[in-house]
């Protein structure tokens, strides 16, 4: 079985899914001839031609708006937004239409489409190229939000997203695009949406994270001795896998949530609310959040201080465990 990094895994998923289903097409800026600024859509144009792999003019709202028109007429567009910093222009079409066409037409029409975008910081890039914007989209009812933390899940989740009848925003943590390789099987397999994954077993502290921060947590756990940490990778941010969170917190009674999104109204807040509703009596320490600060992501000279790092997470785990 080949070892692939995340770029290769996503590329493989696109190739296989477009092979299997002629309705699936890829559109976005610089995805055809150039193969995508991160080379994620490499080779699609040669294989499927310019009718199904479309280099569009530079207009994010235009791209998503047209994709909605295509989706309701039976096509399954997979749209690339070049950077999450440019996704704000898609919120109008997604929030006002794509997410509620099924609701408005009482099921007569639905919007089967995926919006893919590189996500998050840690690559020393320009402004608007290191942001974490998930909260904007989690808040839109009718839109699913998915983010893989490793190549295996990346392929499985993308295939599930493409086959999901409702619109899905699929964020790809660009810091992990080439960070490591792992076994990624060829051929058909899916990772179901809406399910988190327990990466480590432990009875003392539950650590919840997603995307590029999962690797940060894994590094942090190495720094922490004699504390049994249970690391959960959410994989799908909306709809949230409540069961895996509640079961774990009921067992450990202590929880740390790690995300690079800004702290206020980050998904961490929602998770704490759900825990308070369903596992309050089990809590033995206040839930701690290690997140980005409530400031715009600074340019590279200060970016590393903004982002959660293994040291901050390790300290949070120790403080929560010894509360």
């Amino acid at each position: 079985m080949p070892k692939l990094n995340m770029v290769q895994a996503i590329n493989l998923a696109l190739h296989e899914e477009m092979e299997k289903d002629p309705a699936v097409l890829a559109m976005g800026e610089d995805i055809g001839v150039d193969g995508g600024v991160f080379r994620v859509t490499e080779g699609l144009l040669d294989k499927f031609g310019s009718e199904r792999v479309i280099d569009t003019p530079l207009a994010e709202s235009g791209i998503v708006g047209c994709a909605i028109g295509m989706a309701v007429s039976g096509l399954k567009p997979v749209v690339e937004i070049q950077f999450e910093g440019f996704s704000y222009m898609t919120i109008d079409q997604l929030a006002a239409h794509a997410s509620r066409i099924r609701y408005r037409s009482r099921g007569m029409y639905h919007c089967q489409m995926v919006i893919r975008s590189p996500y998050g910081g840690g690559v020393k890039a320009l402004e608007h190229h290191s942001e974490a914007v998930a909260t904007f989209f989690i808040h839109i009812p009718g839109l699913k939000v998915v983010i893989p933390s490793n190549p295996y899940d990346a392929k499985g989740l993308l295939i599930s997203s493409i086959r999901d009848p409702d619109p899905v925003f699929f964020f790809e943590p660009k810091k992990l695009y080439r960070a490591f390789k792992e076994e990624v099987p060829e051929g058909d397999y899916t990772v179901p949406l809406g399910t988190g994954k327990k990466l480590t077993q432990g009875d003392d502290v539950t650590v919840i994270s997603w995307g590029a921060m999962v690797m940060v947590c894994q590094e942090a756990i190495k720094k922490v001795t004699n504390i049994g940490v249970e690391l959960i990778d959410l994989r799908t941010l909306s709809p949230l896998d409540e069961k895996i969170i509640i079961d774990s917190v009921r067992k450990t009674g202590r929880c740390v949530i790690v995300h690079e999104e800004p702290r206020t109204l980050g998904l961490g807040a929602e998770i704490i609310a759900r825990i308070n509703e369903k596992a309050f009596l089990y809590l033995e320490a206040p839930i701690k959040r290690v997140t980005g600060y409530d400031v715009p992501v600074p340019l590279p000279k200060l970016e590393d201080l903004y982002l959660p790092d293994p040291e901050k997470v390790a300290r949070a785990i120790v403080e929560t465990a010894s509360f």
Binding site: N5, A125, S130
Partner: protein, 468 residues
């Protein structure tokens, strides 16, 4: 709109695609490691491009031509002409096949090859700059430095690629020069001098010390010196380069010997072959904990580990003997050690060869160094002229000499003569297996073949040889 720098993660970053580099990369990949190999020019390194392979190919061609012209008195009359350009094209085909072969091997074993120059930014991270300037960043758990060596420059005669050339330049010449002056009597000077002499060039070798091929036993070198004289090669010992000026269409090199005697030598080409130096500059060593030896090579232990626990080093860059076969073995050792296997470069013997005429090959200690190491020794010598097969092959110059401790443990085997570079393989195996004279003498060698000389030499050392 813009990517930022995406760091590629891997288990092992190998810097340099020569014998040391590609063997380490492939072996590590076979052991399940995710390997990236960064090579500035072409896979195969100096060995394939400007060293072992091209030189041996051209030497073979030159010998072929020379042997036809000088068949000896066997009753064969021969005449030959050759197109040197076509020989060069054939040589390039050989080089290309080997490089493509290595490329296929890397692909087969999943080694990711990146063309570019690597530079350590820290003990865990490196930057690879491709020829077009694009930079890729690599994070590694272990790195293996296999940057090899390059010919040392001779300050008074900077290589300009036209008049003054280095070994790489010499191997690439499209026309056989009429007159050639070679600065340096090491194995490169002797090998290329012999080759060009056989192709018709008037060769003069200038050596600043009292002996050419100084690391070999003087008796061996004696035989080669005699043959070089026959080939019309002039060797100037204790001679130093003192200047060069143009005269009509040729350059004239002035040299002076220890008695201040001046000599003028005509030269179309001046080959500078004064040794090699390790490629340790601008690869960012200062950002790691790798330390160098006094002589400027990378310090490594028997497991090829440098003083930086994450970083290994193999091949020429770790110091003499500068042999491709040492690099190949060290590459595998490094790959095994960092995969947790008990590898170690603990070879008792590293064979050295010179493709002169006749060839020289030696392994282990010679008489002088054996005594200096405090061993009581006994030696045995067997001349090829006393060997049936040598007579039958009409190649009777040279001899085999064995150096052993009084208790029979073989310390060194030294050969000068036809096919010496092939015979040394068995000699190397003997020393590696810690063989005794009885073992070598007791081994049956097919008759009539040249290797018999090894057994005969052993018997000579045991005082029971019958053929002399």
């Amino acid at each position: 709109m813009v990517m930022g720098d995406i760091v590629t993660g891997c288990d092992v970053l190998v810097i340099g695609g020569g014998p040391g580099g590609y063997s380490a990369a492939i072996r590590a990949s076979q052991l399940g490691k995710d390997v990236i190999l960064a090579e500035r020019y072409g896979l195969g390194g100096a060995c394939v491009y400007r060293g072992c392979i091209p030189s041996k190919a051209l030497i073979h061609a030159a010998n072929f031509i020379y042997d036809i012209k000088n068949p000896g008195d066997m009753g064969i009359k021969g005449s030959v002409e050759f197109d040197y350009k076509k020989i060069q094209q054939w040589k390039f085909q050989v080089v290309k096949k080997l490089r493509d072969g290595i490329e296929k091997l890397c692909k087969k074993y999943g080694v990711q090859v990146i063309k570019g120059e690597a530079y350590f930014e820290s003990p865990e991270k490196a930057r690879i700059t491709a020829p077009d300037g694009m930079i890729s960043k690599v994070q590694f758990k272990n790195a293996i430095i296999a940057t090899g060596s390059r010919s040392r420059d001779f300050p008074e005669l900077p290589v300009d690629g036209k008049l003054v050339i280095d070994s790489n330049g010499a191997l690439g010449l499209m026309k056989v020069p009429e007159d050639m002056v070679i600065i340096g009597g090491g194995y490169i000077g002797v090998e290329l001098g012999t080759m060009f002499a056989k192709l018709g060039t008037k060769v003069n070798i200038v050596q600043d010390s009292s002996r050419i091929l100084s690391i070999f036993d003087s008796e061996l070198v004696e035989v080669v010196s005699r043959q070089m004289k026959k080939l019309g090669i002039e060797v100037y010992l204790n001679a130093v380069f003192s200047g060069v000026h143009d005269e009509s269409n040729k350059a004239v090199v002035a040299i002076s010997d220890d008695k201040k005697k001046e000599t003028q030598l005509k030269a179309d080409k001046i080959l500078v072959a004064v040794g090699v130096e390790p490629n340790i500059e601008n690869i960012g060593l200062e950002n790691t904990h790798v330390e160098l030896t006094e002589s400027g090579f990378i310090k490594v232990d028997g497991k090829q580990q440098t003083t930086d626990p994450k970083i290994y080093a193999v091949g020429d860059v770790t110091g003499p003997p500068l042999m491709a076969h040492k690099a190949l073995r060290q590459g595998k050792v490094a790959a095994e050690v960092l995969s947790g296997l008990p590898g170690a470069f603990d070879n008792r013997a590293i064979p050295l060869t010179v493709f002169s005429d006749p060839e020289i090959a030696a392994v282990g200690l010679d008489e002088e160094s054996a005594r200096k190491n405090g061993f009581e020794i006994k030696t045995g010598k067997f001349p090829f002229r006393a060997l049936g097969s040598a007579q039958a092959l009409d190649k009777t110059e040279g001899f085999v000499k064995v150096v052993a401790r009084t208790n029979g443990e073989i310390l060194g085997l030294h050969i000068v003569g036809s096919k010496a570079s092939t015979l040394i393989g068995e000699a190397s195996h003997s020393i590696e297996m810690a063989a005794f004279l009885e073992d070598l003498a007791g081994t049956l060698h097919p008759h009539p073949t040249l290797p018999e000389a090894l057994a005969e030499a052993a018997e000579a050392a045991l005082g029971k040889v019958i053929h002399i």
